[in-house]
Symmetry: C2
Subunit: 496 residues, 2 copies
Amino acid sequence: MTDIISFDPRTGSAVETVASETTPEELERICSAAAEAAEPLQAMGRARRARLLRAMADGLEADREAIVATADRESALGEQRLNGELTRTCYQFRQFADAVEEGSFVEATIDHAGDTPMGPRPDLRRMLVPLGPVAVFGASNFPLAFSVPGGDTAAALAAGCPVVVKAHPAHPATSLRCFDVLVRAAADGGAPEGVLALVHGTRAGADLVRHPAIRAVGFTGSERGGRALFDIASSRPDPVPFYGELGSVNPLVVTPEAARRRGEEIARGVVGSFTLGAGQFCTKPGLVFLPADDAGRKLEELMIGEVTEVPPFVLLTEGIRDAYEAAGTEGLAAQGREASEGWGARARLIATDAADLTEDAVQECFGPVTTVVRYRDESDLRAALERVPASLTATLLSERDEADLRGRVGRALREKAGRLVYDAYPTGVAVTWAMHHGGPWPASTNALHTSVGATSLRRFLRPVAWQGAAPEDLPDELADTPENPLPRRVDGRLEV
Amino acid sequence: MTDIISFDPRTGSAVETVASETTPEELERICSAAAEAAEPLQAMGRARRARLLRAMADGLEADREAIVATADRESALGEQRLNGELTRTCYQFRQFADAVEEGSFVEATIDHAGDTPMGPRPDLRRMLVPLGPVAVFGASNFPLAFSVPGGDTAAALAAGCPVVVKAHPAHPATSLRCFDVLVRAAADGGAPEGVLALVHGTRAGADLVRHPAIRAVGFTGSERGGRALFDIASSRPDPVPFYGELGSVNPLVVTPEAARRRGEEIARGVVGSFTLGAGQFCTKPGLVFLPADDAGRKLEELMIGEVTEVPPFVLLTEGIRDAYEAAGTEGLAAQGREASEGWGARARLIATDAADLTEDAVQECFGPVTTVVRYRDESDLRAALERVPASLTATLLSERDEADLRGRVGRALREKAGRLVYDAYPTGVAVTWAMHHGGPWPASTNALHTSVGATSLRRFLRPVAWQGAAPEDLPDELADTPENPLPRRVDGRLEV
């Protein structure tokens, strides 16, 4: 048995042993319990599931002080940021509760019996039902928003699926504390035992993805780790969907007029965005395209000035720090103030010409670094963008009167990104119905889905159609007069 | 270059050479053209795409006589059935046209800027956009409904994606004839060149799934062939979604009361269903659970009587005929009338006890055969159902006053199927909004999606969010006042 140890990134030293790696026998018990919990969780119905999600949010908030202190000690992200992260997570649980109550996510559809050119049609009713137990892999960089509590866990539970979380080794104590809060709320809310479980260790994680009881996987992390688990999920005898958010370089383009008219504002904005959370955001702008003209050069100078003043950061893990130190620094244009103890790192600005943009430079580098890419003209810019892999976001800073240019570059960026950001920075990810957090590979393993926002529920649901069923055999959502009304499509027409 | 030859199943002999296998160079040109066509096809907008789909339906109907004659000669399915199939396909093209015009499939969502507990939220607008070129693999058993014309092709074009079809070798002449009609309609409708292409040959099919331009794959066929292509799609450097409908045994359960009260009707109905289209329906009931009591035995006797009278069939291909002949006949209870020439086959009824239900018996066997499974009681039945793989459909024939039993068995069946059929037969698949044609593996490679009905569009679309975009940078669907109105979700509320 291997110990799971909690470290302090500010000192780089071990603080406590939190747990042991989950054994195969424990994993078997956990997955069986999750499978057993699936039917009773589904049977709770929408109203009780919504209450359960709200109780989980209440429980997290009631334990806020201790959760944030533990997360800060394990992540060095700072209490302000972590308080914001917890608020966001609770908001997301409550937004899912609203969506579950509203009910449109089940896509209830009724086609009454009738005639068609192919002959008589039977009564058909369709809705989405839970897929079954879901494995969730927490991320290092959002210990409270993409980890034990967070989007994937909340979405799967809202969909009616039991969840087994693989704790991220960067914050095992935070994981355990949050898990205890959520399990208590689940028990108080009458959820079946086994509805939520926590496992530790790399082997347990891989075995979890392989386990027959698991029907889908949510993952946020590196392209390498995500690909390995995706391959396991896809090579099962019965492959299961793997929703991974892997890597993203998030190109940001500054047009010539934007550089000319508001260089100072942009320099401050870009540096603030790429160093937010020590550059450990999946939406960090990692490539900043500037015009290779006077205004662009001035903007680059301003960025260099800003970066030089940036205080040192503490990175999340020794591995992230080591990878950051080992990353290429060719074209280094500026560095932030020197780091001293723990897993510290200095901000970095790299600069290159669009024509020289190499494969390496277009890989995501986790940490407070970005690459300025100077483009000579639109065709130079667009040729370079062709070499950029797909991303979660693409940002365009332009002036209102550059509509033609913006249209052309915007269309090119849209092929490569899940979210187009105009005149703002991509780092913030609002939790709303219209948010999309995903994109073509490698941003997501499956471009069809989002991991943030109300529609992320869709990942954990599958359709079932009932043909010719008697009223007593139909779920309430498909009754002619449902007890809990919801938006539906009846005989082809949406009814709200 | 290998010839692609059209055979006549009624004689088993070659009739004509239709084409050559697609070469790697031809495939490269085809995929490049499909990639080039993606943006102009999308730019056609919903109204023109709807017109295009209707023109394709019109074109198919105008050539009905020749298409049906060719398909009958290549498939031996009979002109009546093939006329019905073509009607169904045209209906599906037109239903997609209606869905494209109605517009709810793009899931347009607008969240205006506002305040949240996490601070101000930007203006966010989200809709689904086409994924890009789609590869479609036609099936042998529906030359007009799941082949060059058919659900996958219509859904991908409706979604705005160019399509490259891999022709099924069982009906190359039908494929080519339909392809010519569709290409002419596309050209007349102003669709970009490259919007639809046809390739031949196994190697070309595998290379197509590997090709970087292809963004998704639709497949209907065998579990072995589907798994091989799924593995190619999943092991690409950039994996793409593979929507395969593979194998399905479609359990059908007759309750004791149903057997007692209407055995004759059920015997006729079941035999009619499992021999429809020579038993070459993916929804064929392959396991028929009967009570092991007097009524059940009587029903089995009636089925034996029915089967004995069934005239011989002609199967679609030599391979299907050979596999049918090689399939196990242990427990053979009855055979239909003897077959003589061509790829003929006799109907078969196999019978076994639930306790003896073996792995082999629960594999799909293509052709006019089903297995009667006698169950002693409910627990015997449910234990046997546990061993049945997931299916497209599960059918329950019961009496209205058996609600408790039906509820319990229905819940067990729901875990294993995409469509629950009550007191009818599963072979028919209506084209409606509420249809679901899919299910957990191996019924589908991805349980989230359907390959029939309006929601099958969803497979070929991905979300994009626009943040802070000016009116001129938004698609019409996301404008404050769209020119072509559509159902949308605005600030969290559905508006129709």
